[in-house]
Symmetry: C2
Subunit: 199 residues, 2 copies
DNA sequence: GTTATATTTGAATAATGATTCATTAATCAG
DNA sequence: CTGATTAATGAATCATTATTCAAATATAAC
């Protein structure tokens, strides 16, 4: 008998993150990923069915983690909808804050998988959207948020805005420090841009 | 002598929009684009250097139009920064409102070109961001917008949010009617989500 | 140390699809 | 009408790479 040594699946996944981030999914070469992971080209296929399944795997992990985090936050009863919203934003940033490459893959490559509509992670993605919308609706019901805010539009808008900023941050942490982005989103999404004493 | 008949370049560009939108840039087949345009495969190469240059061409046109629209709006002196902001959002939506496929290409395929950094349209894109930031800064200076709003973060956030909503709209006009999106963005970006009489 | 079994290798394969180019078809000038 | 010139065609080419698999290697059991 012989047992697999090390964590080649993780090595390959991590290598793929780097290469996908730098070259994009279609520009990424399997040989390059293998090299980066320190394994032979063929070994990649012992751990993943094909190139696309590596991307699937990454998105599955990401969305599962996001969904889990969101479940935890949304179910809390000790904080207001507004605080939940802020917490949710923070959790997303926390997820990527140590891994700009993962952030780039996340913001850039999802539509390759969504196109087919069959992706396993889609259920987590949908949960994510629903959970966010629930927080908004709850806030409206509790009278904390404006009645004329459309929960679905709002969720998507904020998610899109975060994606865009996450991308800038990932490309240049210096120019877009995570803290100012987080702060910016809080101000904009929660309080809007108009000058008005609201806090 | 023989002169080129019709507008094959436009036909090809329009065909490419449809095919890129449906199959994505990398999934798009030149033969399919030619077919859709009603020309032979080889003819595509009489009008465009290669597949990528078709995409370049599309983005050049889009960003040039956006930039021009923005120039016009920003230079006006008869409306407030807030009104300018609303107008800018409307102009973007107006640009795509008759062409969901173009919207999909716009939101999904830009990063293929940005990666190389050499794209001709980038200067228009940068103008676009700068013009938006100028409106914000002007609004802050005039006391209409909050002092603690970061113009750069705000511009990117709103742009990202619009992209995300544009994508949903393009995929299903029914579920995300353009008007409710536009209205939603006004409320969120300008007034924020908090319940507070501000108008 | 030997054998059995599972893992790893990386060069060879095979498929794909962008691009080319020799050929054909239109149009125009005279 | 004829020849000259340019546009258009689409099958053949060629390059690129994901994927495969026969061979090599490592580990474990005895």
């Amino acid at each position: 008998m012989r047992t697999k040594s090390g964590n080649k699946d993780r090595d390959i996944a991590n290598a793929a993150i780097k290469v996908f981030a730098r070259d994009g999914f279609h520009g990424a070469r399997i040989t390059r990923i293998a090299e980066e992971a320190g394994v032979a080209t063929g070994s990649v296929y012992l751990y993943f069915k094909n190139k696309e399944s590596i991307l699937h795997h990454l998105f599955f992990e990401i969305w599962q983690r996001i969904r889990d985090q969101f479940m935890g936050v949304v179910s809390r009863t000790d904080i207001t909808p507004r605080e939940k919203l802020e917490e949710l934003v923070d959790r997303i940033f926390a997820l990527f804050s140590r891994n700009p490459s993962l952030a780039l893959v996340f913001v850039n490559e999802q539509h390759h998988l969504v196109r087919e509509g069959t992706a396993e992670f889609m259920k987590y993605y949908e949960d994510f959207l629903k959970l966010t919308e629930d927080v908004i609706r709850d806030g409206v019901k509790k009278g904390q948020f404006r009645k004329d805010v459309d929960a679905r539009v709002f969720s998507n808008f904020v998610f899109g805005g975060m994606r865009q900023l996450l991308q800038h941050w990932a490309r240049s942490q210096k120019e877009f420090p995570l803290n100012s982005i987080r702060q910016g989103i809080r101000i904009i999404a929660i309080q809007g841009i108009l000058k008005t004493p609201t806090t």
